[in-house]
């Protein structure tokens, strides 16, 4: 690979790639790894790996629980990670940053406590929750559970044929009975970047709480919760160069203070009596039990890494990669892109279906398997977004997704790989 191919205007990809040890390995019969599955989980720079290992080697103890040196060091590192995340998303108050296991847990937290809450936030018969047809299952099922338990109603915004949200009936769907609107910022299957501003405005007009699933935007775009205007924002560490097992729920302090706790246990309490307990102030009210401390430290290091690159640069780099990929994939004979085909308002993931003469559509499983043989890692299946597949009448898709370390040469490798897939299955 030449420097020309691996440098975009915004990022020196060659240098970035040196930070990711896994990108040096080969797969199968000595093939260099072409990792195009970052939307499922990104790879980790050595800065993150070292921060976690340094934490365990030199500073580990439980947090908020001791007066000894290690307890204080561990607490400072854990709370330091919260400060880094708060700055990363421009949170007005660091206590609004709640650590969770992942986005799913963050969304389950919000759905559960809104279901349990009393007036004015609580859900009951006659109330409505609005989601969209392009949600990840983790922003569908928690709301199904909550609406079923509370006897409230679940409604959703549909999709246009070109893979964007159908907002033509926004005012009817988000009606005056709507108490919650929960929507994905960037679709993990279609790559669509949603116009949140319009949705947030309508939701707030009817007095609804707005929840944003930012799992696929936090790693790729500058995320400013104050500009976004939502009430809750959920994202996960492992898709943004951080470790698994740590996610974030940001929520407005006045809501978090008012809503009931989620999980009960150590650390989330004030005074515990046998008859009942009082709860700790936020963020600890929502962090029961020993938290994933090393993972929080790792996420802090990931945030440092992204901040050093600059999220504007990350976004520019990925826009360039997505534009190039849309152009090259669009020119592959028999390839149909599922979702927007223009790079504008397009996130770092592209889904497609590949067909070959004599056979028709090659099932994504088979596409992925033959690509794997060439060292190319893509995701195949329904991407935890079955309603999207149903909407477009397809059983599954092949998805290529990108990150800070993705090169144009890797897009070329994918295109060559797809030609090989067609030769393999062609009649």
């Amino acid at each position: 690979m030449t420097a020309e191919l691996t440098r975009t205007a915004a990022i020196d990809v060659e240098r970035v790639r040196k930070d990711f040890p896994i990108l040096e390995r080969t797969v199968g019969e000595g093939r260099p790894l072409v990792y195009l599955d970052s939307a499922a989980s990104s790879q980790k720079p050595r800065q993150v790996i070292e921060a976690m290992s340094d934490y365990y080697a030199h500073h580990h103890s439980n947090v908020h629980r001791g007066v000894h040196a290690l307890a204080e060091e561990a607490t400072a590192l854990y709370e330091g990670a919260r400060d880094k995340v708060a700055a990363f998303i421009n949170a007005p108050d660091r206590n609004e940053v709640i650590f969770t296991k992942n986005s799913s847990e963050a969304l389950n937290l919000v759905a559960s406590v809104l279901g349990w809450a009393g007036e004015p936030y609580g859900l009951g018969p006659g109330d409505r929750v609005v989601i969209t047809q392009m949600e990840h299952h983790s922003n569908i099922v928690p709301w199904q559970l909550t609406t079923q338990r509370t006897g409230s109603e679940l409604a959703w915004l549909g999709l246009t044929d070109d893979g964007r949200l159908d907002l033509s009936n926004l005012d009817e769907v988000v009606n005056e009975h709507t108490k919650v609107v929960s929507v994905v910022h960037v679709s993990n299957i279609l790559g669509t970047v949603n116009p949140l501003e319009v949705i947030v405005r309508r939701a707030h007009d009817v007095g609804a709480v707005v929840v944003v699933d930012a799992s696929q935007s936090a790693p790729h775009l500058p995320l400013d919760v104050q500009t976004l205007g939502a009430d809750f924002v959920a994202f996960t560490g492992h898709k943004m160069l951080g470790p698994t097992g740590i996610g974030v729920l940001w929520g407005r302090a006045e809501l978090l203070n008012e809503l009931p706790p989620f999980l009960g246990g150590g650390e989330m309490v004030g005074v515990v009596n046998m008859e009942g307990s009082t709860y700790a102030p936020i963020p600890h009210k929502y962090e029961a039990g020993t938290m994933p401390i090393a993972e929080a430290v790792g996420l802090g290091a990931a945030v440092d890494y992204l901040t050093a690159l600059g999220m504007d640069n990350v976004a520019r780099h990925e826009h360039e990669i997505v534009s190039y990929a849309l152009e090259r994939l669009g020119a592959v004979d028999g390839l149909r892109i599922i979702g927007p085909t223009e790079p504008e308002q397009h996130g770092a993931a592209i889904s497609f279906i590949l067909s070959v003469e004599g056979l028709g559509e090659i099932h994504p499983h088979d596409v992925g398997q033959v690509l794997d043989e060439q060292g190319i890692a893509v995701r195949v299946g329904q991407h935890c977004a079955r309603p999207v597949c149903v909407r477009y009448g397809i059983p599954a898709t092949t998805r290529a997704s990108f990150s800070v370390y993705t090169t144009r040469a890797e897009i070329d490798a994918l295109v060559d790989g797809l030609e090989h897939v067609k030769r393999f299955f062609g009649a």
Binding site: H363, H365, D366, V380, G381, Q382, P395, F425, A427
Partner: protein, 159 residues
């Protein structure tokens, strides 16, 4: 090469031209099985000649509609070749042999006298993510046959 060990020519032939495909009338039970991780789906019908014979009943027909990858499609096609005309006990024995082959992690070859074209799936057992594709229609067959037999027993009890 590893990939060719999975995509045997026999498998690709069954995939391109599946046998006994399509849903036919006159069936004892119909089931719908899915593989939620990849979206493979099969609707499968079993027609037994005389359900009161229990495991001695002859499988007159297996018909199906399905969508999925080459492995799941070819497996359904091979299945119909293997079990149509056998009695239930014999078909279940073939199922057991196929299951054993699929769980062998690439160690077993499979008995060609029992499994016929299905021995071509031996290579699939090296790919854990694909084993369930190969087993989807077999699980559906077992389920549908059990339902057809249970329905007959139920009828007798009612009478």
């Amino acid at each position: 090469m590893k990939l060719e060990s999975m995509y045997q020519e026999i498998i690709l032939d069954h995939y391109r031209s599946p046998h006994h495909k399509g849903l036919r009338d006159g069936f004892g039970a119909e089931v719908h099985h899915i593989n939620p991780t990849c979206g493979d789906e099969v609707t499968l019908r079993v027609h037994l000649d005389d359900e009161s014979q229990g495991e001695q009943a002859i499988i007159k027909d297996v018909s199906y509609e399905s969508q999925g990858c080459s492995i799941s499609q070819a497996s359904a096609s091979v299945l119909t070749d293997l079990v149509i005309g056998k009695n239930v006990a014999e078909a279940f024995a073939v199922h057991e042999a196929f299951l054993e082959l699929m769980q062998s992690k690439g160690e077993a070859q499979g008995d060609e006298d029992v499994l016929e074209d299905a021995v071509a799936f031996a290579g699939v057992s090296k790919f854990p993510a694909r084993v369930k594709c190969a087993l989807l229609s077999w699980m559906a067959l077992k389920d549908a046959t059990a339902q057809a037999l249970a329905r007959s027993t139920q009828k007798e009890t009612e009478q």
